[in-house]
Amino acid sequence: MWKSSAQTAYALLLPALVALAIFRLYPIAATIWGSLCTESFEKAGASVFAGVSNYADLFTDPVFWGSIWVTIKLNLVINPLQIALALGLALMANQGFPGIGFYRLLFFVPIGVSVPIASILWRTMFDPNAGLINSLLSILKIPSQPFLISQEQALWCIVAIATWKGISFWMIFLWAGLQDIPPQVLEAAEIDGANRFQRFLFVTLPLLRRPLLFVLVTDTATNFLLFVPMFLLTGGGPAGSTNVLMFEAYKSGFVYGEMGRALAIVVVLLLLVVAVVALQFRLLRRPEGER
């Protein structure tokens, strides 16, 4: 019935394209439009077009720049850390020895714990007065640490919590990737005289590029939007040391009622994530000539 196969393809794609427009493109457009508007107090809080004033305001605000720095600092540490640990776990899970099933189960456990529950659990453990971690430190004769209420330690405590929660999830993808690598290739490398480390570096890692790229991109996007531990544990403090962009956007919109500012922050965050992800794609692109 259809005039050409292209038309058939478009017709079949239509539902997905409509869904994409409604659930992806429209919210992005609405966010960009909202970031160009502000509340008018002469018109009882009605939203009015304000040009780029929200952005101009943002770029002269030291709190915003502080927030950008915290976001970048967090991501520079947490993404390599999570991926390295997830890869390590995946390599361990990929081993075959008696009892490995038990260890694999242990690796999976954090996936079943929701982020809010993990946050609350860790807050109890990090409690400076009566927490488990300080009790353990006292056995080792290390003085009590302030953890989440310290400007220097809070962000790294959040890194620890998010990493504990995150790595087992990312491990699954890398482990699946490892299982996809044909054992013959590794055997061949072994026969050619490659040692364990060389086999990992020159055979396993290049063959793991696709799952690694997927994990890198989704993990980065997830961590740029990390919000729950800040919301539940630190409120962006102490002294703004955990005030990531996502939290600053939330506070502007839902606590201060400045939706224009909040949406402008979200747009900046979106551009930042897109830029970082584009860079990652570029770095992990297949070399020319390789299929």
């Binding site: 502000t38 509340e39 107090f41 009882a44 809080g45 009605a46 605000d61 030291p62 709190v63 409690d127 400076p128 007065n129 009566a130 006292s138 009590s144 302030p146 989440l148 209420i149 310290s150 400007q151 409120g235 962006g236 403090g237 102490p238 002294a239 506070k251 839902f254 606590v255 201060y256 009622g257 400045e258 939706m259």
Partner: protein, 448 residues
């Protein structure tokens, strides 16, 4: 098969239609008004008592509660009011937010339901004023509040310290005696710290008893008393500038004192939230608790042996206590404004509704009638009900309203995070300078 399935669908349809008819007939019988309010502690249960009495008098109106914890309530109001949620009729309004909600168009004025004379003759002048903005009455006072100093008698006895003059379970006291104590025997913060140092007890590197604890730790409501006691308001009189006020010398001095409680003298616990702090007093882990008058029934119920004394002040300064509490207003988008007004009137202004609310929740009434009744009623001369006499004294002598500013949301949140930072050891001057700068920026949008 075909016949059977069509019968099945027919009967299903009939059931569905019957359900619709029933639902619509019950909906037309009564109007339901929805009230966005707090879920903390006994608040919802106390509200339900007022609602039950109201519904008995007004069978054509049903009141449904939609409750949220303290901090989430403010966020929910922002989101649902901005979306002009037509499913909301009544909102609980924390009194310093009246200006903010009015300027954003969240509230419908109550002018047609309460005349100027009604307002003047029903409530304390300060409460009526606090509920108004730009000449319109926006939210009616549900109750007001005051601040006391609570003393754990046993912990004082164990430490061999004479407690401040106050009143407790074993004596009767009248308004005159309370006036004398509040004007002559009120402790200074310096005396409080001296006692707190002796009352704080450690064992094995852990603190078992803390000398002093604030009820609303780091929250503006209670912290405001510190700087104000030294004679320095938080914001400029128009409520639009913080520099030169919040980071003034007096406020830095007050903040340094607050920091020292946690970091130098270590008489107060870190990492305790305002929601958790009263539990430390009921558990006998805090010797001096400075907090709201609303704690009296809670501490009595918990069986704590305690005294009530007037809220402290800085030597050389003046006594200042927090005041103001929840008001209640009509959502601008409400479809049932008349019914909502009827309920608001019942709760806040009628003798019956106000009395039920007072009996249930025990917070200081804003109505003149109930205050006079308390002053004269002999049952308020024995513990713990005599505490209301102190609350009434403070309401008339030391109470200072929170700053009236359309940017109160920003002010309160930044104030809280700044004082949390100070509690956690950030230099008070740096913290206050930073907060004042941030606030000036945030308040600039409201400049005319």
């Amino acid at each position: 098969m075909k016949i059977r399935s069509s019968r099945f669908f027919q009967s299903l349809f009939r059931l569905f239609a019957a359900g619709l008819i029933m639902a619509s007939s019950s909906a037309s019988a009564a109007t339901t008004i929805r009230w966005l309010t707090l879920s903390n502690g006994s608040w919802p249960d106390s509200l339900k008592k007022v609602v039950t009495a109201f519904e008995a008098e007004n069978p054509d109106i049903k009141v449904e509660l939609d409750t949220y914890p303290f901090r989430q309530l403010f966020e929910t109001i922002e989101v649902r009011m901005k979306a002009q949620d037509a499913n909301l009729d009544v909102i609980s309004v924390d009194v310093p937010l009246v200006a903010s909600y009015a300027i954003r168009g969240y509230l419908a004025p109550l002018d047609e339901y309460f005349t100027a004379d009604d307002i003047k003759n029903t409530w304390l002048e300060a409460s009526g004023k606090a509920g108004s903005y730009n000449g319109h009455f926006m939210a009616a006072p549900q109750n007001t509040s005051s601040q006391f100093m609570y003393i754990n008698r046993k912990l004082f006895q164990d430490a061999g310290i004479t407690p401040p003059k106050g009143f407790g379970p074993d004596q009767a006291i009248d308004f005159q005696q309370i006036t004398d104590i509040a004007s002559n025997d009120r402790w200074t913060w310096e005396q409080v710290v001296d006692a707190a140092k002796k009352l704080t007890k450690e064992s094995g590197g852990k603190t078992d008893v803390w000398g002093l604890e604030f009820d609303q730790v780091s929250r503006l409501y209670q912290m405001q008393c510190l700087g104000e006691s030294l004679g320095q308001p938080l914001l400029s009189p128009d409520g639009l500038k913080a520099s030169g006020y919040l980071n003034s010398e007096k406020w830095i001095q007050a903040a340094q004192w607050y920091s020292d409680l946690f970091n130098k003298w270590k008489v107060s616990p870190k990492n305790v939230s305002p929601d958790e702090s009263p539990n430390l007093f009921t558990a006998g882990k805090v010797a001096i608790f400075v907090g709201g008058e609303w704690n009296v029934p809670r501490f009595k119920e918990a069986g704590v042996d305690f005294l009530v004394a007037p809220f402290p002040y800085f030597a050389g300064g003046k006594p200042v206590t927090g005041t103001g509490s929840w008001h209640i207003g009509i959502a601008k988008s409400s479809q049932h404004k008349a019914e909502a007004a009827k309920f608001i009137k019942f709760l806040t202004a009628t003798e019956k509704g106000n009395q039920i609310w007072f009996d249930a929740q025990g917070q200081v009434p804003s109505t003149l009638a109930l205050q006079t009744a308390i002053e004269q009623d002999p049952q308020y001369r024995s513990f713990p009900k005599d505490a209301y006499l102190l609350a009434i004294y403070e309401a008339n002598h030391s109470a200072v309203n929170r700053p009236s500013t359309p940017g109160y949301l920003q002010v309160e949140d930044l104030f809280f995070s700044t004082f949390e930072d100070i509690r956690n050891g950030v230099n008070p001057k740096d913290a206050l300078d930073g907060a004042a700068r941030r606030l000036d920026r945030a308040l600039a949008q409201f400049h005319p």
